[in-house]
Amino acid sequence: MTIIILALNYYFQLPKGDYLEISHGNEIKHYSLFQNKILIFDEIEVEINMGKARIKKSNCANQYCIMQGWISKINHSVVCIPNLFKISIKSKMLSYDSTNY
């Protein structure tokens, strides 16, 4: 129980992202998360809704990517393996390896 509470606490403390990274085949594209938008990539439809995103439609057989639902926290991803498609929540501020000063 304690572990579950700690895990939930950790999850809710995770910062939210500010842009969506979409990796489609060899291409990587970035979109602001702070908009309401439907993006269409061949057979896949991605929905962005003010800070969160999900794969809304896909032509894949099992629809597992759609079952993942909405994501909004930094570094959380949804993958559609048959389509080699991935959406990830990113932050301009927080994703870097080191600081130059």
Partner: protein, 358 residues
Amino acid sequence: MKSNILVKKMLAKRLSKLLFKYFSIFLLLLINSCSNSNFYEHKVLIYGTILEFKFYDTNHDQANQAINQIVDKLNDLNKKFHPWEKSLISEFNQTHQINNCDQDFIKIIEIAKNYENITHSKFNPAIGKLIEIWGFHEDVIKGQVPHEEEINTILLTQPSLNQLLITDHSISTDNLSLKIDLGGMIKGLALDIAKQTYQDMGIKNVLTNFGGNIYAHGKPDNRLWEVAIQNPHNNKLLLAKLKMPPGSAIGTSGDYEKYFIHNHQKYSHLINPKNGQAFSSYSSATVLINPNENDVGIKSDIFSKPLYFSENLLETSKSLQLNHFFTTDHKNHIFISKSFADEIIWLFNEGDFIVEVI
């Protein structure tokens, strides 16, 4: 009976979907933790400066071996080049003659001399005495402003490493105002030592940060190493972010790390070799050195200094063959080269800075 079977089937289907959902979340977490374990980070404090490593996909024993080798070499550098504590250089700075230099020592002096000439003495490792009279050759900065006369007496002798008589084992000079301080290139030299160590050991991917100067060796996974650049006017904020090509190095010189304030004027440890003053119209200068150049680390450290004191950024950058650079001034302007502007992502709040592409 039939409807009962249907309900059971539906329930089973729902349950399996639910189980799959949690199983896939578990799998994702597992993948995440695995990818995290591909990184191995380590920090070492070496002569008051943080040396930070971030290895990707490297055997931990091999990484530790590399770290130990690098730290040993840097400790050796410290013993030779510390400008005021007991070292070969501090001995030279007292006596102006030392006879027990080894080959590596002479080689580093020659490198420093070469870069003094390349930068037309805008990086000048022979002005240790100027740095000393400004009070930056002490562990605790007192905040003393030297008399103009004192500065001018030193400037009149035009201290330069070209005034050294260098043999295989000794260096000496007739200029008693010449004191050597390699502080402007030692962090960069450390990065080049790290680079050589990784190459010798066959280590492919590691990011090395020595006191803010960064060398990107290889890249992690299917992305590039990404670094943030600190806001020179507020160390709690970030100014920008950029992706570092494998083999590149980045360095910043600024007035915000080591300085004192006297009569509302900020004096930094960076001394202008041309006029002996401890301030500039810029608050910082950042350079990114491309991978295919030699001495990437040294250049990332040295080349930010002529830009920091530059009176004409385009001219200075051209003479150093620099394509990726920017400076910030005290009025919140950023002057950035075209090639760098295309690659950098600004992180400051709207209105905090005005960016001018030059």
